[in-house]
Assembly symmetry: C2
Homo-oligomer: 328 residues x 2
Amino acid sequence: MAGVVRMGAEPDVTVGPGTVAVMPTGGVLPPGADAVVMVEYTQEAMPGTIEVTRPVAPGEGVVRADEDVAAGAQLVPAGRPLRAQDLGMLAAAGVTQVSVYARPRVTVFSTGDEVVPPDTGKLRPGQVRDATATALAGLITQAGGEARQGGIIPDDQAALEAALRAALATTDMIVISAGSSVGARDETAAAVARLGPPGIWCHGLAIRPGKPTLLAECAGVPVIGLPGNPRSALVVFRLIGMPLVYRAGGCTSPPAEPVVRARLARDVASAAGRLDVVQVRLEDGAAEPLFGLSALLSILTAADGYVVVPEDATGLGSGTDVDVTLYR
Amino acid sequence: MAGVVRMGAEPDVTVGPGTVAVMPTGGVLPPGADAVVMVEYTQEAMPGTIEVTRPVAPGEGVVRADEDVAAGAQLVPAGRPLRAQDLGMLAAAGVTQVSVYARPRVTVFSTGDEVVPPDTGKLRPGQVRDATATALAGLITQAGGEARQGGIIPDDQAALEAALRAALATTDMIVISAGSSVGARDETAAAVARLGPPGIWCHGLAIRPGKPTLLAECAGVPVIGLPGNPRSALVVFRLIGMPLVYRAGGCTSPPAEPVVRARLARDVASAAGRLDVVQVRLEDGAAEPLFGLSALLSILTAADGYVVVPEDATGLGSGTDVDVTLYR
């Protein structure tokens, strides 16, 4: 039992043939000692003599100086949000300032003569409160971005272009919650096309809901034109916008979304060649699909998560095991 | 085709025998119309005469005024954090202010003569930087709380009691990152016991790491005394502290943690009657357990998530399918 160190608060004592020293937690091993035993496993057999009541192996209770992190080793990898334990590791190493990516500034515009601010009291016939911009701000924040409200732009191509152009200079990403009528969509596309190269990547995605989505890049700023229906807009932004926000914030490994496995409670139809996003409610471990018009936000608020029907499937049968991505 | 409304921007036109009116998206159905068709599915056959080029069923393209949410219905349930779509639904209904729970104030104390602040440059022998308080602040924030640093209290029962007593009046929850030596633990317990009824619920949990955990309630404020090892402290706080923070913030349904199913790459030993929390790294869909002293933070920073070995198990064999809770 040579060189056992006892942790505790009593004065030093020695016992033959080994040395039993007393030291505080986190101290430096005294010369000659090669193990530490907790004071609970010792007793003072007689004054000045301590008995160690359990076997102690060399190295026990001892942490080498480089055992947690060796000099020169990476403390925390780049490309992911700092987790609680990463902050702890940095603090332990005395690193209290780290360079991080700035939160990407994402400006959200709503378009449409019929769209009015959420704080509008009584609506006139045909008016609709802007639900999408507020919800998008939530998703942008969740992905590490800083959401900025660009306001509601009337159906006027010149006004939209001017607003977008002003935002280009001060923002890292632009999101347009576009009117869903074909005229409004054309106006959005025309305004975006004039912002600068390379311009519009695509206009229309094989996804439901979310088909009339516009993806563009203008003067180095990604621009997403979302469908006018709030539900379609939120579905598309989750799948396409949030990964872009993460990436713009330097996050190459976005945190995992919570997923549960569940049995589909009813048949879900889908067209081959199209990705379908189906909202589901979880009930007793079964995933109950929620159907309804893409204009209905209540489908989203009632949902616990969603199921993606892959492009090559023509639907999923009742009883199929599916991955449900849960909302947080 | 009686009563079909065409959406678009052209002047009104009429076609017999039904009526084709032109209206903007989101408008109110004109009298006599019972369906809406998109302008894409119409063409002007001759001046003043419009042809609808696809069959239209009554009710198509029309949303009833109460179809999304009926008057008097619940917009968003209480007890969970507001999700993006919940914010959208509230905005759509014109609700721009909602009563929410305040973020619970959680004060974190570190104890121990050997503990020094993270910004301490060169350490003297036996000193250790306070990693736990910083990491706990991350977990508290993640659970919706407002983390407050109570500072580092020396191993002095009176000083600790005074600091805790002062915090009781201004905080909703107290967390003590306690010295792990039995003396320090006793001092923490003694200080907590004098704070007020009902006092200490338990001192010691059948969990590894995290055995020397103290749970108390003093004058209505929950008090958690965590083990001194940073890794043990973080493991216990995730399992016990975060649910308390969620609850104190009015969140009765905390958001789900992301979980993946993986095959255990190696045997994991555990004692029956004890919950074991094993850190794992995911490699090619397999969960590789990370073993090491509970003092090592690097185990936590290297881990992608953790596996819980239930109390009744005496270990898990290599190849077992396990649920890995992922860190975010």
